[in-house]
Each structure stands twice: as C-alpha cells, then as structure tokens.
C-alpha cells in the first residue's frame, strides 16, 4: 500500500511539475536571460487559465491553448511596451500589468471569480477516450503534459540559438555590447517578454483543463514558485548549453513539486503550503551562496586562521 501511495505522489508531482515547468521556462527567459524580473507572471498565469477555460467551455479544447498563448503575448507586449517606450522601470511595469490583469481576468471569466469545466471536453478527457486499457488510464495525463513540455523545451532551446535568440541573450548579458552591435534592445526585450508570457499563459491553460476549473486567485504566488523551480534547476544543473539549461529548469520544476508533495505527505496542512513554498525558494536561492560561504569558512579553518582566533573554533561568525 505504502509503495503504491508513493508512486501516485510521484506521478501527480511529475504531472504538476511538467505543467508548472512552462512558467519556470517563462521566467528562465525573462529572469535568467533578459535579466528582467517580470512580476506580471501571476496575473498572466491566471489570464492563460481564464482564456483557456472559457475557450474550452465553448467546445474548443485544442484552440484553447493557442488562444491562451495569444493572450499571454498581449500581456507580455504591454509589459514590454511600458518599460521600453514609456520609461516605466521593469519591476513597476510588471506590477502595473499584474494589477490591471485582475480586472481583465475577471472580465474574461464573465465577471465571476471561478469557472468550472465539469462535463466539458478537455484535451485530457479526449485523450482518455482513446483507450480503456489499465496502463493507459494511468499514464495518459503525464504523457500529454510531458509531450507538451518536450515540444516547448526543444523549440525554446532551438530558438535561443538562432540569431534572434542570441540577440535576446546578449540584451540581458551586456547592455554596452548591445548598443554597439546593431541589436535593437526595444525589439529584443519585447520579443523576449512576449515569448515568456505566452509560455506562462500556456501553462495556465493546460492547468485549467487538467484540474477542470479556473479561479481568479489561481496565479497568486506563481512567480515565487516558478522562481524556486528555476533556481533549483540552475543549482543542480549549472551552466551549460541552452538545451541543458532548459532541461535543468524542467527538472527543477518537477523536483519542486516533489518537495511540496513530500511536505503534504508529512501532514503539513494545506493552508501552510505558501509558507513552505516561500521557505523552499529562500533556501534554493540562498543555497549557492551558503555553499560558497561554507567553502570559504572551511578553507580558513583548515589554514588555522579562524580556528586560531576563535577559542571554541565552533560557530565563529565569518563576518566578525
């Protein structure tokens, strides 16, 4: 019994991990590559979810995905427009768009705060009908989300190695070089944020169909969660080729979901999940720094400097 339970935990962690990894990939573009903290992620995720849910409800579960992505592109465009053409600092631009999106999202959901998709065809329900075999019923969901993430990941890794992708990467890497090398930062930032937000919205649309509902508060804290996934991924995989880094982000997202699942398994009440998320993020971000500090501390101890000064040699403060 115990092992079956663990398997199902692992499975749902993987499913959610894949779905949310699209948001992590979005932040990979905006945060890691463009060096912009895009705080419109929360609202954009809900936007994708709302658009996805409404289009699904009208009987077009497949159309729902590109429709949500298009909505995400619009949201990303507004964020980019504010910071490149209106002189709004990037963090503020994200916050402003995020605030505005709340109303937009409510409007998309026909001015109700949640929408149910029970009884509607979704990509998952359509796939389920293909076969009634036992093994199939167990893994069709994961197959769908894995395929979606695989396709997005491969296209993204390919895209970031094209000329446009290289220009976007250079934009976030060295502004002086960009100014001197015929790259138009207004254009690259706009394209980058549009791509990034389309992935966030896609993730929302897939989630809406996965859990057959959409709620106005669904996106709250999404940016933190995605950031945690991103940083866990970058910490375990490190730098490398674009493909490797994309894989790392996806792995990070799955790992994050797994940690959350374990926390739930340890009977952490559901209301505490946000706190757990925040702790995981704080730890994931602090980890590389702490590792460096620990190495520094250790090498000094070995050379006897700290050890000699510090009578007890125990918890001496490095900064002291």
């Amino acid at each position: 019994m115990e092992s079956v339970f663990t398997f199902s935990i692992l499975q749902s962690a993987l499913e959610l991990g894949f779905i949310y990894s699209l948001v992590a990939l979005a932040l990979f573009i905006s945060f890691s590559i463009l060096n912009i903290a895009d705080l419109s992620t929360d609202g954009c995720f809900t936007l994708g979810c709302a658009v996805g849910a409404m289009v699904t409800m009208s009987g077009h579960p497949f159309l729902a995905l590109p429709a949500a992505m298009a909505a995400g592109v619009c949201s990303g465009f507004v964020t980019a427009f504010l910071q490149t053409k209106m002189g709004v600092p990037s963090i503020l631009a994200g916050i402003i768009v995020n605030t505005g999106l709340y109303t937009v999202n409510i409007a998309v959901m026909d001015f109700s705060s949640n929408v149910n998709l029970f009884g509607c065809d979704t990509i998952f329900s359509l796939a389920k009908e293909v076969s009634s075999a036992d093994w199939y019923g167990n893994c069709y969901k994961i197959a769908i989300v894995a395929a979606a993430v695989l396709i997005v990941g491969v296209i993204l890794a390919w895209f970031l190695n094209t000329r446009l992708g290289l220009s976007i990467r250079a934009t976030g890497d060295n502004e002086y070089m960009v100014r001197a090398s015929s790259i138009n930062p207004v254009f690259t930032i706009t394209v980058g944020l549009c791509v990034s937000n389309s992935l966030t919205a896609l993730s929302g649309a897939v989630l809406a169909q996965y859990q057959k509902s959409c709620d106005i508060n669904l996106g709250t804290g999404m940016v933190t969660i995605a950031l945690a996934s991103l940083i866990i991924g970058e910490t375990i995989i490190g730098k490398g080729s674009m493909f490797k880094r994309v894989v790392g982000v996806i792995l990070g997202s799955c790992l994050y979901r797994f940690i959350v699942a374990v926390a739930l398994r340890l009977n952490v009440p559901a209301e505490c999940l946000k706190l757990v998320s925040a702790l995981i993020v704080a730890f994931a971000i602090a980890f590389p720094y702490l590792k460096g500090q620990a190495a520094f501390y250790k090498s000094h101890r070995i050379h006897g400097r700290l050890g000699a000064n510090n009578g007890k040699g125990g918890d001496g403060n490095v900064d002291a």
Binding site: F159, N161, T162, R163, L164, L166, S167, R169, A170, D173, N174, Y176, M177, R179, A180, S181, S182, I183, N184, P185, K239
Partner: protein, 268 residues
Amino acid sequence: MVMLTLKTVSKTFYPGTVNEKKALERVNLELSKGDFATIVGSNGAGKSTLFNAITGSFYVDEGQIILAGEDITYRREHIRSKVIGHLFQDPMKGSAPHMSIEENMALAYLRASTSSHAYFSRISKKDKRVFREQLALLNMGLEDRMKQPVGLLSGGQRQALTLLMATMVTPKILLLDEHTAALDPATAQKVLELTRTIVAERGITCLMVTHNMHQALELGNRTLMMDRGRIVLDIRGEERKKMTVDDLLARFREQAGEGLDNDRILLS
C-alpha cells in the same frame, strides 16, 4: 572619397542648469576613406562625446553627421551600428560574458545581414570555420576554446576578440576609445599591432582616442587634438612626419592657451 563628415556639430549636456556642459562646440571634421586619425586631449575635452555623437548614443543639438554619403544625424543607434565598429576602454563592455566565443562572433557576423529570414538562422558549419580562421589570426589559442563563455577570457583576449568582432564585417568607420588603456603593456602592444594590421589590410577609416603622445604621432596618418569641445589641431602630411612629442605639446599650449594639464598623458 569622403567617409565621414561632421558639420558644426554641437552638444550641450544639462542645458540651462548649473551643470550645463558644452561637450561639443561646432565641431567640423572630414575623414577620407582609409584615414586613420588619432585624437588626443585632456579629460573632458569631448573625445568620448564625439564618438557617442557618431554612434548615436544621443542626438546632437545642432549640425549634421554624414557617413559614406548618408545623413545619419537622426538615425537610431542600432541602425547606425550596423556599419560602425566601436571599441571601449573597458574590455568587459565589448562582448557578452555568459555567451560562448562562437555565439559572440555569430552576433557580430550576422549584424550586417539585413534580410529578415536571418532572424531564425543558426550558426552554420561554414560560419564556424570562418570564426576559427579569424581567431587563429589572433595567435592566442582562442580557436580551440570557441565553446567557452567569453567571461573566462582575460582582458586582453576579450579586447582582441572585440576588435575581431567589430571588424569581422568591415565597418565604414571604426571608433577606438582608448581601447588598449586598460591592458598591461605587453598585451596592449599586441592588441595595438593587431589593430594596425587589420585597419591597414582592409583600409578601414578609423578614429582612435589615445593618451599616449608617442602613439598619437606614430599611428595612422592624422592627429587631431581636442580641447573644451572643439577640435583645435588637425595635423597631417609632412608637418606630421616631422613633428615630435615636444612640438605637439607646444602646439597644444599655443592653441589652448595653457599646458596640457592631465596626469594621464604619456610622453613616452
């Protein structure tokens, strides 16, 4: 053939405030194709401002900038930079540290292509071969490190790479803003030699800021001196050949009415 013309170019920063600074005052300059002019002058004389006016970091208040027959006075920076090479004093500014040597070169290489389908082009085998050949010319072993991030290179290697990138697609004008000043003497010499070779081989029109008086007279075919936003001296031809560092300093004193007050000037 005239490559670059500046006609009464002026720029004032913070106009109307206590910090008002006339960075360029009715500057006139004409460079023929293949001219290599060195620029000397004290700090704040307007050398870098002159470069920034040419690259389009800001629009000038007055005057006209004509590059290869085209009026670029109000052309946007990223469009101008397709045909302008610009090297900064800081070697870190010219390349993207987290991208590989190959990717940096690809950006430089692709910049001249204007067709839009090039947006989705990738680095081809042929491109890589070209990059390899070019890197081999530097004699720094970089051709075997093409996949490594540029951040791992030394300052001299990065500046050499930047020079290569700026000239990979032959620019209409190359602007060198004290590009060897931050390097150690041996490396600086090497980068300078490289500059000289590349500029001479391709007949690139070039402007170079330097604080080294000896360099200012030895390199290129013209020496310009700037003071308080104006070009006060333009020495070339026979006059330049005969000129010594002492003569140059004397001429400056004559023109500017005071000594060259700058502890960064090198008289070597």
